[in-house]
Symmetry: C4
Subunit: 203 residues, 4 copies
């Protein structure tokens, strides 16, 4: 990339953030398409059928919350990052790929929730989160190591917190991935718990 003055660089970040925000917002809203209308059948059954889908709703909620908290941290990162290089562009592209894919494993997890293969489906679901958090870690590491792309006044305490959280996140989701091989429901609940912790730790 050519040398560009500081003003244009900020614009560069702005449009990258805008595009990323749009992908986050679309992916999080498309998740609703994974919720299926129970096929009309015997009268008096609908209430029961809707309640019976609680595991599908949990899978939806875990994905919604995960994309939401990813957006919050992405947002936080880009209050510190003020330059863009090719590697950041590629890593951000991979991150968006991960986020945009989420509706698919969520649909798989929801479709197999009552099937003997529910464990595999849950591993596929949580595995996507492992992948996303690994890319997130790489992106942050690239941007922050030796302050490569950080704004001059980036708060070192915030940088430190993001270092630790981005390192721990893939480990937590990996634990949840293995938990899924035993208990799909346990994994979905752990995923939601991870999100709550992340929201509370946001610097």
């Amino acid at each position: 990339m050519q040398e560009i003055p500081d003003g244009e660089r900020r614009t560069e970040t702005a449009r990258l953030e805008g595009f990323s925000d749009a992908v986050f917002a679309i992916a999080i809203t498309l998740l609703v398409l994974d919720l299926k209308v129970p096929p009309p059948g015997r009268p008096g059954l609908l209430g029961e059928l809707l309640l019976d889908q609680w595991r599908e709703y949990l899978a939806f909620l875990a994905s919604f919350a995960t994309i939401g908290v990813m957006w919050m941290y992405h947002h936080k990162l880009f209050t510190l990052i003020n330059r863009v290089d090719r590697t950041l562009l590629v890593l951000n592209g991979l991150l968006l790929l991960g986020v945009a894919i989420v509706p698919f494993p969520t649909a798989v997890a929801a479709a197999y929730v009552r099937h003997p293969d529910a464990k595999v489906a849950a591993m596929f679901h949580t595995g996507t989160f492992v992948m996303i958090t690994v890319i997130f870690r790489l992106l942050w590491q690239h941007a922050s190591s030796r302050n490569r792309l950080l704004a001059p006044g980036a708060n070192p305490r915030v940088v430190g917190v993001l270092n630790r959280i981005s390192a721990v996140a893939p480990i937590l989701y990996l634990a949840s991935f293995f938990l899924a091989s035993v208990s799909p429901l346990g994994s979905t609940l752990l995923n939601s718990a991870i999100v709550v912790i992340f929201v509370m730790l946001i610097p």
Copy 2:
């Protein structure tokens, strides 16, 4: 959250508004996927089939209008709010969750419109609006009580109007929720009437 100067805080609000706007816009536009093409059958029937879906159209319109008016009020709120804290972030996330879900209960209501369980479906549909307006109330209460997150020059008259409307909205939708258990159509019409009132009362 760390202490941040006023300028950055405004930016913080701006990106939250931008993300919220995108979710509102996507959810409101995705509703169209709930309108189903009548399966091609006997010639000469299409006009009738399309007209016959008027209750599905009403369910769609009620959801469209409700998300639309929610956007207007959300927008109005954020002309008064100029700071973001963690609780606001979480409540706004829950609000977006409610808005993003709307296409699902709308689809349920439309699919069951001619089914004996239409009442349950309509309660599910209107129940979502109850939930959304309750979260909206909590969000506004958090932001406005003791001017916690309001801009210094926030017009007290407007704040007062929003206090009253946000308190009344869940009650109106709750009434419509109970009406749905008797008359799904009556509930849908009441939902639309509520929206008209809210548009007229917007300060």
Copy 3:
């Protein structure tokens, strides 16, 4: 609506434009979901099946072009409008409703293209455009009559051109609506021709 200083009014317009742009962009992109993958069948047939869908593609293109040109004119309008009142908010909401619905009549037109009811489907499709252009005319009339919501320096020549085009548009689409009752294909082609004319006339 309360009295607000000029600066905030511009912001008000900006967020309305942003929300409208998002709905236009989502509706225009959702149209692709109306294009159906031919169900895999006898080998060697796919090329033919894809070519055979040319009328479906035309219906898609007419909708895409119409939403696109609507966006261009909406955009042009809001370079002249710099105030927002409740009526504008409501009319703009109705316009977005019309735009967001377009994928539904397009799907109907595409699904019935080879069915005896193709004429009814085409009338439903073009009828939506009549409705949208009527709302567009009302919106512009409200904003421009006696310069109600126009910026002080609004170019009178541009205002005049928009007056004439917004008045003629519903008439052209109405002609196409009646043409659809005779020739669905003729109507779709006329719709495309109307768009070309509108693009050339954009002031």
Copy 4:
């Protein structure tokens, strides 16, 4: 188009970019709907079924990467272009049409990946990329020839690089189009390789 002062012209570009960004972001995120949940069947099969879809994933990835890199270059172009005329508006509309369509040929390619007609499907898929890159070339040629719409300070080296890349892109995709008639998989892999090269060459 009327004569407009420089400030407004920049705004004009800004809204065009914003609308284009939204269409790019929606199209890239809608691609996920092309990934299909394997219908629940015999227990123990899900892992295999998911792995078995690797060619569908590749088709998805090729489309995702292509739209992504198109966005990057579109973005780069509009750091150089600072005026809008009718031809640019139309060519940009055609470009967005191409981008918005991508989920359809991707779905065709994915649905026919194990069918004897996979070659035709792959040609349809890659043919869309040929079309998009041709429009891209025309757009850039119109904007840059005799600096028609370029900003005064546009870097001649960057302009030169974009000239060459936009001229070569359609040729590369045309080669991949013909490759698809022999090897669908080879064509999909070549499409991905082209994207990698384009990312590395971005000026």
